[in-house]
Amino acid sequence: MYHYQKSLPYKIFTILNYVLLTVTAFLCILPLIHILAVSFSGSAAATANLVGLWPVDFTLDAYEKTIGNENFLRSLWNSFFRVVLGTAISMGLMLCAAYPLSKSDQVFRGRKIYMWFFVFTMLFHGGLVPTYMVVTKLGLTDTIWALVLPSAVSSFNLILLVNFFRTSVPKSLEEAALMDGANHFTIFLRIYLPISVPAIATISLFTMVFHWNSWFDGMIYMSDVKHYPLSTFLQTIIVQQDFTKMSVDAETLKNLSERTVKSAQIFIAALPMLIVYPFVQKFFVKGIVLGAEKE
């Protein structure tokens, strides 16, 4: 213990500091606890604003109604499908592209040009309307491809992978394989991929979170609620409160606009993130550090 830590002002500061940090941490998480409490409360208590941080008249009613709604279930399935397919395509494309880009300029002539081809998309965008028209003209609307293809190659993640390949794969291993007559595909599959499992896991998680949370593309490219991913469905129901797109009877409508049911839907949508978050947090921290890595 250093002597400054024994001084009275520092002790007072330490106590205040702990209090302040605890309060801040609570403030960050309170909204979620409140929503959780509302979702487990009786509908009357929720409407009368009696619920704080603990359920009043505990019931699973809201969850039953949510699960009973076929639109909700279908959008949940759409989201799972989108996450799996989207991540697989993204990772396939980006890993294949990252391998050649990680070579030196001597080994792979033209590397610089390719690199700028990708980096330029980080600097300049065509914007919303032209992108929308390309997707529409290609006839991708109302198909899963409109959700997974336009965002498949993220230049930022690609650069993270390239940096990882450059710094973590031992050149000697690669040269040895080359001596044995291995070609690029073999070296990529047998050496690069196995060594890069941590980086692949990190970037896959980035991509999965991105797909789970994306909602705007679902809203503009899908004309039918049948094709909505969960985020888009929730946006329509809870944020816009627009029920015109659902062909539902009055009873379901009343159910969906109940405060407890809304809270239950929000919580179910947040649940996958909440479950995986504690496990993946360290990967994400690693990802940030990866991003800061210099050549």
């Binding site: 001084s7 792979f108 990708f118 998309t121 929308y132 070609n183 944020v239 978050y277 210099k294």
Partner: protein, 316 residues
Amino acid sequence: MQTEIDLQERIVTVKTKKRWNLKGSWQLHAMLLPAIVVVFIFQYIPMFGLVMAFQDYEPWLGFLNSSWVGLEHFKTMFEYEDARQVIWNTLVISILKIIFNLAVPLTFALLLNEVYVMKFKRTVQTIVYLPHFLSWVILGGILIDMLSPEGGIVNSILTSLFRIEPIFFLGDNDWFRTVVVVTDVWKECGFNTIVFLAAITSINPALYEAAIVDGANRWQQTIYITLPSMLPIIIVVGTLSLGNILNAGFDQILNLYNPLVYKTGDIIDTYVYRVGLLNGDFSYATAVGLFKSVISFILVVTGYRLAYKYANYKIF
């Protein structure tokens, strides 16, 4: 003998290089092809679509037959009261966000650095970082419920504590920007906190030991060692956020705003979305979008250059 080995090594390297270049490079090009195609279709073709900004684009005529109008849409943009207000809103909101998203995480990281109970430190860090992973749809749903003037928990607490009228946070032009900035800091401050904490941990402990020998107290250590050592990373975060000056947060605003607060809360991106996709005014919306893309391009490039010049930061 030594030179002979050298020579042999050199021959081997030359041979390898040759093999890489001649035999292997088609494989490298082939591996890049799929990603190139996808990026070309979905990123570059839309850039060509920007010619719409100089046309009166009609979907049934296409790019080739639509009439050319030159810079007319840009002129309209600067004459429209709406558009000027939207640009102003964007600037105000994003500059406030940039300032607070630097200052709050910096303070938070410095405070967390004074915590020596590792478990407590990690728990706080984990909780604060959590909202970053939830989408604005979820957070928007939560906020709309909590901030509602009819029985939202925030208004219930305010009313019972201060006996004031309920505030319609998301429908009041005096409050909307504040809500947007505060909730954005709530969602994003964990990310920068972790970046700053990582920078603090990498400071050489010998500096602190020397300062302690010289009798510096903790406050002086923070001012004279911690902050100066963090300057490069602060510059990087600050300069890179420069590119976001025209991005005031499309996802967030679209999930929180409503016609009542268009005056203070409507930003370029939401405006382009409404005018272009909802009203079908493709050309005008594209012009506004192009204006934004060009300014952003200049700012992003400037940001990277400054980050490189003052903090030696390179992204690749």
